[in-house]
Amino acid sequence: MASIWEYANPRKFLATTDVVLPWVTALAAITLVAGLIWGFFFTPDDYKQGSTVKIIYLHVPSALMAINAWLMMLVASLIWLVRRHHVSALAARAAAPVGATFTLIALATGAIWGQPMWGTWWAWDPRLTSFLILFLFYLGYMALWQAVENPDTAADLTSVLCIVGSVFAVLSRYAVNFWNQGLHQGASLSLDREEHVADVFYYPLLVSIAGFVLLFIALVLLRTRTEIRARRLYALAARERMGQGAAG
């Protein structure tokens, strides 16, 4: 019985993703395109929001994945700190730019949606503000990875930052709520069928969300592979430098 930790071996990870990645990529492309085309072309206008309701197929999935990407980084950081699997730390690093991009999409679509609905591009609404803060967290996290040269030190420091940052991100969410009551509508998705959006919007939205999830997985797998190779490159370069030092 193979343990899940086997995939934490970089070689095994590369070999496995070599097979899996094309399938995930294809599936992500199909689902994302299907969800967006369904949402854009084949859904009716909302009686209140008109055609702007079509923005939901970008806004909600990207916002969802912006938070989930951070959660994934948090879990990967904890695994790195506890079990010292390099793949885990590198996956966290690989996910950050993807999460930051999703945050940016959520912010941009939110602003564009807010303009006709609320009459302003930007309102310091709690949800928008929280996402802006989340974006700053992503920037800091990526900047720290960039700044520290030794990959193991960088992995450790960013993991600590990710954990502390998560606590402060949650704190900020509540602080911002306290600071300004917002214009933003409640949750679009809910298990309580009475609350969430109507079925005609709901099913294409689910497909879009699946598309964004798969896109995230595909990108993180691809980028983790890159990070594994970059780390190997770093190790080889360090060995060459040491070899030259011994020879000269």
Binding site: A108, W113, R229, L236
Partner: protein, 51 residues
Amino acid sequence: MMPDLGKYALAVLSAYGVSLVLIAAIVAQSVLRARRVRRELEKAEARHRNG
């Protein structure tokens, strides 16, 4: 084929435009960097074996 977006056409189209550009950007960056690092590693490993 094109749905009638009414008076909000600009908002909807720009939302889709911005998002697709951003997604394309992160995908392109990931793919290009993957290729570059892969090539560099192959070169370094070849050097390592011969040298």
